[in-house]
Symmetry: C2
Subunit: 130 residues, 2 copies
């Protein structure tokens, strides 16, 4: 799974603990980090490790398949760790690595851009005629 876009608009409209609106105009945002959900996963893990189902909840609309793909790609790239706790019942926790954490300032910068300039972009898009 190559890395692709994440929508930072949703993040711009959300507050911590993050909860993302699936109706947010994802494709309008020109700044993207990793796959569609990568940035949101980073923000979800910013406050500490989370389990698979704890990630599914705030990331409304993500299917388990896509979330698995996203997390595997992030693990492969050294952005998160996946820890299986040998308990009963077994528990799987995902946590940010320092490398994953290094993306946070970039995500914040992108969110700041969107808060300041995205309305201009959307207005331009509305009034555009070829």
């Amino acid at each position: 799974m190559p890395l692709r876009a994440v929508n930072l608009v949703r993040m711009a409209e959300s507050v911590a603990p993050p909860e993302f609106d699936p109706r947010c105009p994802s494709s309008d945002m020109p700044v993207q980090i990793g796959g569609k959900w990568t940035g949101m996963v980073v923000r979800c893990l910013q406050s500490g490790p989370r389990r698979f189902t704890e990630l599914r909840e705030p990331l409304r609309g993500v299917t388990p398949k896509v979330l698995t793909e996203t997390l595997r790609a992030m693990e492969r790239d050294g952005l998160v760790t996946r820890t299986v706790h040998d308990e009963n019942p077994p528990r799987v926790e995902y946590a940010l690595t320092p490398l994953g954490r290094s993306l946070v300032p970039l995500i914040d910068a992108a969110r700041a851009w969107s808060e300041e300039h995205l309305p201009d972009l959307l207005r331009a898009r509305e009034t555009y005629e070829p």
Copy 2:
């Protein structure tokens, strides 16, 4: 044409006046702005307006079709202006708008991230086993 990813690695490896290496590992970069070529167009236009063919040159490998799509999308979103000069021969110039120029700091931040952290990501990817 919805907005997608641009490879900032190429830009990280380039110097002004920008000239981009098509063999650069585009898909490894987790930070992307607009379409694949959007960020490179911004950087090409940073130093002033350019013509269609003047953009094709440094963006090695871009086909006229894709460059047209990219520029149309950027025009629609208010990132560039397209000016047809009524001369002989007619001249078409593309220039950054203030909105387009507002992306520059973000692009620089992404380039800085890639210079600092991309090797770590690639190393993690190499040594990863599922």
